[in-house]
């Protein structure tokens, strides 16, 4: 099957959606399908052979964080050319409800279109004001996939209709058998956190408070933090003896992320809201690291209601302190959590996820009259009126 996938965000910036698309594309290619991904990226950037660059992205505030999006005449022309030359059986757009390359592709294409919705944000201003303008593009989508029940609920509340829930996958084998980061063997009491620690919704402040509470009675306790943010800000607020026990790795590459999990003894996800799935939990579980996580709907579901991770009250320092202490002090509990995590990680293995996505492709193409083509109506209305003679077109 010939599959065209649209990635709405900049390819080289690490993110859940980008990783999802990469893993899906590579799994489909492994199974013998033809896959082309179009993503915003500079022309001179090194890209995998299956990725087509659609031009540079501009930063836009969306859903509490900054997303880098591509939207404009040059991208429009490139998407249209990619559609014409790709001759896809199915077009798979991701997160088409944001003003992005995916939305452009929806306007530009006609035929079997599948869309995956990632975000779970109950109050997105963009979705509210944007809905009338989005409808003509979104109604072209033949099948909708949501990566979680929360994402499905968001979608249904904003646009009506329904969606099939297919959760994210994780490449279990990649997280097995890695070696720790150089010079960072776990000491039996190293707690890990990965993500933008200066973004309030990630809940790092809650973890830090729990760490401060536990550190005096546990001299071995260390905190290892990976992800972008201003480390000095955090260290300045800590007493010097505690600051020495917190290490910041900065942003880590995918390869180093795999090794990061081998450098820690417990992974903590203290998020305080707006998480639709939590791929990071699956990665920690695949790596065999016991997990302590906030009791968010999405997290509780992924972690089998506490079988695969110690759940603590959202944003509650005392609850996280107690939960973390329980896991740190009890080797039997850690072993239980590892075993539970193993079951969960295998369930979400990419091979099984890709198989379910293929089922959706097959269902939309089964009754379809033709392959994906350019939409002549939007070509005449939008492109001809707005984008005529734009530089770089064609």
């Amino acid at each position: 099957m010939r599959v065209g996938i649209v990635c709405p965000y900049t390819w080289h910036v690490p993110g859940g959606v980008q990783a999802h698309i990469r893993d899906l594309a590579e799994e489909l290619i492994r199974e013998g399908h033809h896959v082309s991904v179009i993503a915003s990226a500079d022309d001179d950037e090194p890209l995998p052979p299956y990725v087509e660059p659609a031009g540079r992205a501009v930063p836009v505030r969306y859903n509490g964080s900054v997303a880098r999006l591509t939207f404009g005449p040059i991208s429009n022309a490139r998407v249209r050319r990619w559609l014409r030359e790709g001759e896809f059986d199915v077009l798979h757009v991701h997160e088409p409800a944001a003003p992005s390359l995916s939305l452009l592709a929806c306007y530009a294409a006609d035929g079997p279109i599948v869309a995956t919705f990632h975000a779970a944000n109950p109050r997105s201003r963009w979705m509210r004001v944007g809905t009338p303008a989005l409808t003509p593009a979104l109604e072209k989508i033949r099948a909708r996939i949501a990566v979680s029940s929360a994402a499905r609920r968001t979608l249904v509340e904003h646009f009506g209709g329904d969606a099939v829930v297919i959760p994210n996958g994780v490449d279990v084998e990649a997280f097995r058998g890695a070696s720790p980061l150089p010079g960072r063997e776990p000491n039996g009491a190293t707690v890990g956190f990965l993500g933008r620690f200066d973004e309030p919704r990630k809940g790092f402040a809650v973890l830090l408070a729990a760490f401060v509470a536990l550190a005096p009675s546990r001299p071995e306790l260390r905190l290892l933090v990976a992800g972008p943010g201003d480390a000095q800000d955090v260290l300045d607020d800590l007493p010097p003896d505690l600051a020495a026990r917190v290490d910041f790795l900065g942003m880590v590459s995918d390869a180093d992320k795999v090794r990061f999990f081998q450098s820690i003894d417990v992974y903590v996800a203290p998020n305080v809201g707006q998480e639709s799935f939590g791929v990071i939990l699956l990665e920690a579980a695949a790596a065999g690291v016991p997990i302590v996580a906030s009791d968010l709907d999405a997290f509780a579901r992924v972690l089998d209601d506490g079988v695969a991770g110690e759940l603590t009250a959202v944003g509650d320092v005392a609850s996280l302190t107690a939960g973390l202490a329980r896991v740190l002090d009890d080797p039997v509990r850690r072993q239980q959590l590892r075993a539970g995590g193993d079951v969960v990680a295998r369930r979400y293995d990419w091979a099984s996820v890709a198989h379910r996505v293929l089922e959706v492709y097959e269902t939309v193409t089964a009754g379809a009259e033709a392959t994906v083509s350019e939409d002549d109506a939007t070509e005449s209305l939008i492109s001809r009126m707005m984008f005529r003679g734009s530089p770089g077109a064609g």
Binding site: E139, K140, R142, A143, D162, T363, G367, L381
Partner: protein, 198 residues
């Protein structure tokens, strides 16, 4: 003169908008057709597999299983021959008679595994394979139903628009209807049988 120009521009824009909306509506009708035919294919496949399974059980299964298989053969044939109005009822009926057969076969397969049985050689493997195919056909129905009803949703929303109603943009195309059947209870039963397999 100027007024005439404005009127002309408005008329041209309106005409473009109407044409575009008609195009959207046409595409939705195409999508409904495609969704419905994918759903049809999935339902036909389930009926065919159900009949094959029931035929196998009727000739080679245990006495108890044979009794459960007989109504499945009849229901599968009715479902395949059903017209548009009778389709949902016929498919629900097939689900209703398939469920006990699937559960019973799960039990017989397990019993044969544990204590051996006098059933013909290869029978268990055949039943097992058919149950697997039936499970995938049933999950396909859920998917196709979801997709088809999504298309109906969008089409009806568009047809309810004032512009579309006043100008009869839908033409003679009949308003599509939702297709609701109970396929999930059968999917659950099949998943349970599959889980019990070693």
């Amino acid at each position: 003169m100027q007024n005439l120009l404005i009127v002309l521009v408005v008329l041209v824009l309106l005409a473009m908008y109407v044409t575009w909306t008609a195009g959207r509506l046409d595409r939705q009708h195409v999508r409904v057709e495609a969704g419905r035919s994918a759903l049809d294919a999935a339902l036909v496949r389930r009926a065919a597999l159900a009949e094959e399974l029931a035929d196998l059980v009727r000739t080679s299964g245990s006495t108890d299983d044979r009794a459960l298989a007989a109504p499945v053969v009849a229901a599968a044939r009715t479902a395949r021959d059903a017209d548009v109005e009778g389709r949902e009822r016929a498919e629900n009926n097939l689900t209703r008679v398939l469920r006990p057969l699937v559960n019973a076969l799960g039990g017989s397969l397990r019993a044969a595994d544990e204590q051996g049985s006098d059933l013909p050689a290869g029978y268990a493997a055949q039943v097992h394979a058919l149950l697997g195919q039936l499970a995938s056909a049933t999950s396909r129905i859920g998917l196709a139903r979801n997709i088809s009803n999504g298309a109906v949703d969008h089409t009806l929303a568009l047809r309810r628009r004032r512009l579309v109603r006043w100008l009869h943009l839908a033409g003679r195309a009949a308003a599509p209807s939702y297709f609701e059947i109970d396929d999930t209870t059968l999917a659950d039963a099949l998943a349970q049988v599959a889980r019990r397999e070693p």
